[in-house]
Point group: C2
Chain length 307, copies 2
Amino acid sequence: MSSFSQRLSDAILRTKTPLVVGLDPRLENLPKTYAPLVNGNIWDQAQAIREFCYWVIDVVADLVPAVKPQLAFFEELGPAGTQALADVVRYAREKQLLIIGDGKRGDIGTTASAYANAYLGVHSPWGMDSLTINPYLGVDTLQPFVQTARQRAAGIFVLVKTSNKGSGDFQDLIMRSESAAAETLYQRVAAELNRLAHEANAATDTYNLCEIGAVVGATYPQQLVDLRERMPKCWLLIPGFGAQGGTAQDTAGGFHPNGLGAIVNSSRAILYSFDPDDHSHGWVDAVRQATHNANQQLRDGTPAANL
Amino acid sequence: MSSFSQRLSDAILRTKTPLVVGLDPRLENLPKTYAPLVNGNIWDQAQAIREFCYWVIDVVADLVPAVKPQLAFFEELGPAGTQALADVVRYAREKQLLIIGDGKRGDIGTTASAYANAYLGVHSPWGMDSLTINPYLGVDTLQPFVQTARQRAAGIFVLVKTSNKGSGDFQDLIMRSESAAAETLYQRVAAELNRLAHEANAATDTYNLCEIGAVVGATYPQQLVDLRERMPKCWLLIPGFGAQGGTAQDTAGGFHPNGLGAIVNSSRAILYSFDPDDHSHGWVDAVRQATHNANQQLRDGTPAANL
């Protein structure tokens, strides 16, 4: 199997878009057609989010390179929900979509290895292509994920500068340093990721990008430009486009001039683009149209025009 | 229902120990009696970890106040494993043990709410009493967990200074500050937790402890003393005792003089205390003995002597 980065680059060049559709199945927002299941027991509810995600996958499979299931919304429904997650991931893979598991996992030593194994390992029962990771615990806790990703041609996206309003509480703190240059916590994390991306055994693709990625919010466009520069070989996964207020132009700084190097996630603005009072299956057309619109915005407003 | 902190204090006073048994079911370490299941398919393997955890719970139920299932080891077995997790949690609750879900979750806005709902909510399908949380994303991302914990008489344990060797990579970085006092990242996180613990609606128990806890490793005894002082109302969950090298004496600084305020986790040193070549059910006795030993060490070496 070719490297995660190569598969991602190829899929972006094929679909001519860096758009990732976030699968955030929220019971309270599902189309009215699912009301009987939503009002049922927890297994019915899990069936509702499973079917909803299947439909979304059907709609977007030819239009985008990847989907990003948000694990929280599946875990909210207990074992029934996690079974739905496994089914949704399998379905998306059958449709040739790459899977970015948004779990923001992180732990020490053999526990980190267990998470890496769980989501990225050769025998992963979830079968994801990549996983989002939280770096707070330190660089040694990233290693098991990096190792597993390299063994299995998978990828990771480490939180660097997140899209929420309070992301500065800790990430923007400036470190005391001997040298003159001020450095924030998120820049320090970025420096470590850049180091990992330059290791001899990094799985670099034909576009000089590798399996180490970073999460940087569209809501911080200037930091995006800065971080693009600090991590030239890393993919940037950019949330915050759409419902959170980031525009296509805000994401532009995350790309290399060839249109690669960044993927842009949209969840709510695509999934819940339909009229909530519509009781028909017409919601599927709204999702298709919203995906087309997001693609067009990214092609108009970013270097994705060059894909 | 009384507050999480009150339930925890009461359980500690009843069992006269701050010991928490970590449920880290690793397939490769299970007693030989489980070999047929371990060598089976993934549902068999999930059955092996389920039965193993049931036995451990039976053994420790009268000896300790709480167990801490490590979610990674259940997720490693996919939906079969997460179903086992739900079963194990239910079984432990039936045995009156408090449940600390070790998931180290963290995300923004409504996604954080979904995680809080999933594990701590009124209708939580997992039914845990508390959850470990990663603070990297910022204080606003802790709020949904705090809110849910307060509504549902649950608790949270936020990572502050973790037990791994590399925990200093980011947590120990010193912030540039106008004031003279140097402050590390983990001290800054601790200050925010202390602030949350002093909010008017904090669920303070009769011992002046509340629902906001912090994770601080036994492997950093001096930091433990410092952090005990900085967060007087917060429970400290102390990993790193036993297999990771921390002694009972190393954890002593985490306690208040009355023996409350800290809980000490041991996983491997208790779960895998048996002779790995023993093919009999004798492993259960070894687990019982290891639990007694750990209790004795904590009573001898910490203010838990005063419980």
